[in-house]
Amino acid sequence: MGFKNINIGTKEGVSNVVGTALLSSPRINREQMKNIQTNISTALVVDDDIINRKIHRKLLDNLGIESETVTNGKEAVDVHCTGKNFDLILMDLEMPIMNGIEATKKLREMGIHSMIAGVSTRSLEEEKQEFMDAGLNDFKEKPLTVAKLASILHKFCEDDLEPVTD
C-alpha cells in the first residue's frame, strides 16, 4: 500500500487520504515519511528531557521541518519575546521553572496563535483536560511516534486555528 505524495499542506480531499492512511496503517515507514509534505516549516520543541528533545527533533527533521529546542516553559516564552515565531510548538507538560500548562497559557495571553500540541506521559482525563484548557490545539501521549506527529500535522490542516480565547 503506497501513499505517494501525501500532501498535508492543502485541505481539499487530502485530509481523507491522510485519514485513511492513518486508520489503515498506523505505522508510517521511512518511505511514506519522505512523501508527507506539510505546510509547517518551523517548530519549537519544549521538553526538559534531552532524549525526548533529540527524538522529537529527528521526527521533525525527517519531515523537512526546521526546529529549535528549549528545555522548559520559561525558555519557550522567552524565545517568543525575541520576536521568533513557529508554525508548531511541541509542548511537554512536566518541566522545571515553568510547566507546559503555564507556558501555554502565557503564550496564548501573548497572542501567539501557533499550533500547540501537548505531549505528555500524563494520561488521566482531568490532567489532559487541564492541559487542553490552557490553550492546546491537540494532545498526544508520549512517546511521540511518526504516526502521532503525522496526526498532529493533519490537524494543523483541518483546524482554522481560531485564536484561542477564554
Binding site: 515507514n29 521511512r30 515519511m33 528531557d49 534531552i50 532524549i51 525526548n52 533529540k54 527524538i55 529527528k58 521526527l59 527533521d61 525527517n62 512536566e94 506521559t121 508520549k142 512517546p143 511516534t145 511518526v146
Partner: protein, 147 residues
C-alpha cells in the same frame, strides 16, 4: 562468520529482545527514524539513555541512603527514568519504574529499596543486550553489509 550468518544472527537476536520484552515498538520507531543524514541516530539516543539512567540511578541510591528520605525527590527521578526508558522502548525498565512509583506514593522505604535493585538489574540487562546488538551491527557493516 560470513555476512549472511551475521545478518541472520542480528535478526534472531533482535527478535528475541522483543519477544522477551526487553524492547518494545518504540525501539522500532527509533530505527525507522535513522537515515543516511544521521546513520548513528539510534546509537546516539541509546547512549544518551545510558548516561541519563546512570545519573538517575546514582541519585536514587544516594537518596535512599539518607536519614530523612525525600520521596518527592525520589519520585521525580523515577518519573524521569520512566520517561526516558519509555522513549527508547526499554520496556522492562519502564515497568519496574512504574512499580517503584507505587512504593514512593506509599512512602514504603523497603519497597523502594527493593524496586531500586530491580530497576538496576533490568537496566544492566538491557544495556548489555543493546551493546551486543550494536556490536553485531558494526560487524555487519564492517563485513560490507547493512541492517
Amino acid at each position: 562468520m560470513d555476512l549472511v550468518q551475521l545478518q541472520r544472527q542480528f535478526v534472531d537476536y533482535t527478535t528475541s529482545l522483543f519477544n522477551e520484552g526487553f524492547l518494545d515498538d518504540q525501539f522500532n520507531q527509533l530505527q525507522q527514524l535513522q537515515d543516511e543524514s544521521n546513520p548513528d541516530f539510534v546509537v546516539e539516543v541509546v547512549s544518551l539513555f545510558f548516561e541519563d539512567s546512570e545519573r538517575h540511578l546514582n541519585e536514587l541510591t544516594q537518596s535512599l541512603e539518607q536519614q530523612n528520605i525525600d520521596f518527592k525527590r525520589i519520585d521525580a527521578h523515577v518519573h524521569q527514568l520512566k520517561g526516558s526508558s519509555s522513549s527508547i522502548g526499554a520496556q522492562r525498565v519502564q515497568k519496574e519504574c512504574i512499580n517503584f512509583r507505587g512504593y514512593c506514593e506509599e512512602k514504603n522505604i523497603e519497597g523502594c529499596r527493593k524496586c531500586l535493585q530491580q530497576v538496576k538489574h533490568e537496566y544492566v540487562l538491557v544495556k548489555n543486550k543493546l551493546e551486543t546488538l550494536f556490536k553485531l551491527e558494526q560487524q555487519i557493516i564492517a563485513a560490507g553489509g547493512s541492517i
